[in-house]
C-alpha cells in the first residue's frame, strides 16, 4: 500500500484564497518532500522537511510535519491561477545506517485548481 496518502484528492479554490493539502504516512521517515506536477510534465521539487523539523517556509509555501501523527500539511497562501497543478508528498525512508538511498514513496496526489 502507499506510504503517503494525500487528502483531499481534489481541491478547487478562487485566486487569492489559501490551499491546504494533507499527507499521512505509515512508517518512520528520514524526511518528507513535496513536489508539484503540471499536467503531463515532470515533477518539480517544492520543499523538504526533515524528521526533526516541525515547520518550514519557502515563499508562499508553508509545510508542517507531525511525526507523532505521521502527517504533514502543505499550505499555499494567496493562491494564483498558475498554482493549478497536482501536488504530491513523498516520504524518504531511512536505510539501515540511518541515511537514505533516496527511494521515495509517493502518495496519490492532490489536484489543485485555482480559478482566476
Amino acid at each position: 500500500s502507499q506510504q503517503g496518502e494525500e487528502d483531499p484528492q481534489a481541491l478547487s479554490i478562487q485566486e487569492g484564497e489559501n490551499a491546504t493539502m494533507n499527507c499521512s504516512y505509515k512508517t518512520s521517515i528520514n524526511n518528507l518532500q513535496w513536489y508539484r506536477q503540471n499536467s503531463g510534465r515532470g515533477l518539480v521539487h517544492l520543499i523538504l522537511i526533515r524528521s526533526n523539523e516541525r515547520e518550514k517556509h519557502s515563499g508562499r509555501l508553508r509545510v508542517t510535519l507531525d511525526t507523532s501523527k505521521k502527517s504533514s500539511s502543505l499550505l499555499i497562501t494567496a493562491s494564483r491561477a498558475a498554482d493549478t497543478a497536482s501536488y504530491f508528498c513523498a516520504t524518504d525512508l531511512p536505510n539501515a545506517g540511518g541515511t537514505s538511498y533516496g527511494k521515495l514513496t509517493f502518495g496519490q496526489g492532490t489536484i489543485l485548481t485555482v480559478h482566476p
Binding site: 515533477l43 538511498y101 509517493f106
Partner: protein, 115 residues
C-alpha cells in the same frame, strides 16, 4: 548547472515489442539515478535505482529491466511489452553526498502507450 534529459518524449508501441528509454544527466558526476512509473491519475512508483555504474536495484517485480552503462546514463528496457506497461516514465537524479543531500530532480518524462 545540472540538467536531465529523457527521450523519447512520447512512444506508442505494440504489445510484444521491445522497449528502450534513455535518461542522461549533465553537469554532475556519480549521481544516484532513479526510474519511476506513474499510472494515469496516480502517484509515482519507484521501479529501479542505481548508486553507480552497473549497480541496479529493482524495487518491484515486473516486465522491465534497467541498466547503467555510463555514469550519467540510465536506460529502461523491456524485451516484450505488456499492455500494463503503459504509463508515464520519469527518470530522476540525486547528487551523491552526505545525509544532507536528499532532493531529487526529475526529467520531463516519457509517455508510453502500449496497444
Amino acid at each position: 548547472s545540472q540538467t536531465i534529459h529523457q527521450w523519447p518524449a512520447t512512444l506508442v508501441q505494440p504489445v510484444g515489442s521491445p522497449l528502450s528509454l534513455e535518461c542522461t544527466v549533465e553537469g554532475t558526476s556519480n549521481p544516484n539515478l532513479y526510474w519511476y512509473r506513474q499510472a494515469a491519475g496516480r502517484g509515482l512508483q519507484l521501479l529501479f535505482y542505481s548508486v553507480g555504474i552497473g549497480q541496479i536495484s529493482s524495487e518491484v517485480p515486473q516486465n522491465l529491466s534497467a541498466s547503467r552503462p555510463q555514469d550519467r546514463q540510465f536506460i529502461l528496457s523491456s524485451k516484450k511489452l505488456l499492455l500494463s506497461d503503459s504509463g508515464f516514465y520519469l527518470c530522476a537524479w540525486r547528487p551523491r553526498g552526505g545525509p544532507g543531500v536528499v532532493t531529487q530532480y526529475f526529467g520531463p518524462g516519457t509517455r508510453l502507450t502500449v496497444l
